[in-house]
Symmetry: C2
Subunit: 379 residues, 2 copies
């Protein structure tokens, strides 16, 4: 049976415009007005107890599910969100929120600074995952939701979910961090730093002042290529490309010979058309700064009334399972309700977007339980 899909989806904007509605950033800088792009699917029930917040990964956006009017490609997690799917929109009210610092409709370095009439560029404050979540908390207030049924996300989306736990545990019943970590290891920082260096090495970057001029496309493309290697596994690359040769575009000596080279170049080129180089710098830094290791995930040290489903993937070497196990260890030390699942996938980090069947089974069951228990746990 073919599943129904959501159509005529629209991205909405939430702006908290007037002082004191500006946002105080972790860095101490204030900025306003702030806009967050978001989408919603399904309907909020009477007691506002069926809302799930979906948080996206590094290069994602608010468009998680369904089709824009006339569009041929659905949102990035359409396999998981919709009628009868893991996040069942017949039952739940699903909110997908973008992040500040980005370039997908929310306020970020490419937004116009109302004080100068020009894009902020590097005048934009340092952004942290906590800043992103603080802005999202205002959106949730605005939507009239006191307590989210769940916060869910993969990769950087998982970090946002963990930040919700650390900052607003009383606002959530459960959290589903997928393929993520409590902090970046030096290897993960190193990959991000190489991407930043590639962007900043491009003369067009011009210390961030490239708006209205030619953009640092070549540097940003190189940065994205590095990323794509880390999203796949050795094995999934072998299965997809092996050493297959591609038809050469020219007789140029350093033209792409192998299919994998053509794939990376394509990924790099298409990324620069949809992403802002300064956002690349700000968001990767936010990820590197993120650190909820040790006692920081639960600063009170007391067991929280938040249930967890933690999911990792065996072949994910960018966010290896040991990092998810560390999340679970922190929870179990506080006798909390936490389920850990390691999915046997060969897709590497990308698995969180691809292993739909197993994720659906796990998440549907978990959410069903939390939803059923919501009355009992109400405080």
């Amino acid at each position: 049976m073919k599943k129904k899909t959501l159509v005529n989806v629209e991205t909405k904007l939430f702006t908290f415009a007037e002082p004191p509605n500006e946002l105080l950033f972790e860095s101490g800088q204030k900025l306003g007005p702030i806009t967050l792009a978001y989408e919603t699917y399904g309907d909020l029930n009477q007691d506002a107890s069926n809302a799930i917040l979906v948080l996206h990964a590094f290069s994602g956006d608010a468009h998680a599910a369904g089709y824009y009017k006339g569009d041929k490609k659905p949102g990035w997690w359409d396999d998981m969100i919709g009628p009868g799917k893991a996040l069942d929109t017949d039952k739940y009210f699903v909110i997908s929120s973008n992040i500040i610092g980005g370039c997908k409709g929310s306020t970020g370095p490419s937004s116009k600074n109302p004080k100068t009439g020009k894009p902020y560029a590097l005048d934009f404050p340092v952004v942290t995952i906590a800043d992103m979540v603080n802005a999202q908390r205002r959106l949730i207030d605005h939507l009239g939701i006191h307590k989210l049924l769940s916060v869910i996300g993969g990769s950087m989306g998982g970090m946002q979910a963990l930040q919700w736990v650390a900052a607003y545990p009383e606002r959530i019943r459960s959290a589903i961090p997928i393929a993520t970590a409590l902090k970046h290891s030096p290897q993960q920082i190193a990959f991000n730093e190489v991407g930043r260096q590639a962007v900043m090495a491009d003369v067009e970057w011009n210390h961030g002042n490239y708006y209205g001029k030619s953009r640092p496309e070549r540097g940003l493309a190189v940065a994205r290529m590095v990323g794509h290697i880390t999203y796949m596994s050795d094995k999934s690359m072998e299965e997809k490309f092996s050493r297959k040769l591609k038809e050469k575009d020219s007789n140029y000596k350093f033209d792409a010979d192998f299919e994998v080279e053509g794939y990376l170049r394509y990924q790099g080129d298409s990324f620069v058309r949809r992403f802002d180089a300064n956002s690349y710098l700000y968001i990767t830094k936010a990820i590197d700064y993120f650190d909820l290791s040790g006692a920081k995930l639960i600063p009170t040290g007391k067991s929280l009334d938040v249930a967890f489903l933690v999911i990792a993937f065996k072949s994910d070497w960018l966010y290896p399972p040991y990092q998810s196990q560390e999340i679970v260890r922190q929870l179990k030390m506080r006798h909390m309700d936490a389920t850990y699942m390691e999915i046997r996938s060969t897709y590497g980090h990308d698995a969180f977007l691809l292993e739909v069947e197993e994720e659906t089974m796990l998440i549907r069951h978990f959410l069903g339980r939390i939803f059923a228990e919501r009355g009992r746990n109400a405080k």
Copy 2:
């Protein structure tokens, strides 16, 4: 007891200058004169049966051991080569050969084209590992050695050793490929391709015509940073850097915060002072093209009278042990004398330069056996 060291070491040049002494490249192009830089340590014995050829990795050079006059830093494998060391220069005559296509004294894209008086740049022919070994074979002829006791190298040096097996099995008694592979996987090609793209994205690269002008230093530095991540392991980075912060050089927003970032920047910056960007492109391509998989290592299909010691490192994710095991599998299928050793190191790919003690034990014993048997095996 402190080991003796070699002093007053000198790099020599071997040039095969007159036609027909030019080199026919695999690509079909001919080039001459060709110069190879090399060093020798110890003395050749009377029947020229104690010669070992050392082959270096991607960014290495002929200076493998001892000290140049007045120099404070020894060659790159000084821990392994010298009196009483694994490659014992009291017993063996050790030759360390550079490669063509490089920028360390041998003919490469930065060498002057005698026909134009200018550097070859991209007019230099495509170089393969087979071309490198063909040039080395002329050097071995020139040194009056009919049969090498062993060929040994790590990483790309291991590929050269394997190429000696495939092309000149009658000229070697043994081979010691370390932390290497019969062919690059798509992931390995992908990392090299990202490095090449970083170089070519630099406007200073100028399609290879930067000699005498400003060089593509920023792009080459980014390429090197990617390399350095792949040379270490997740664990060795954790042990070396963890999330330690460094003192910031400035208040600049995207200055290095973490020690690992400072380390990568330092590695990138120091590399561009000693390496040519076009050589980077040519040599990484040579590595990607290399393919002795399946029957290609031993084209006759018959068992060879060449003994093998194959060494891999548990935490090496750039050249994972399964690639060394595949070499051994090919040898064992032909009932050949092959010893496989996987060293439990946390250093990642760099282990072949660092795990001196275990390597010394293995290699000294292996070479001793081959040297003792040389009379018996003589044909």
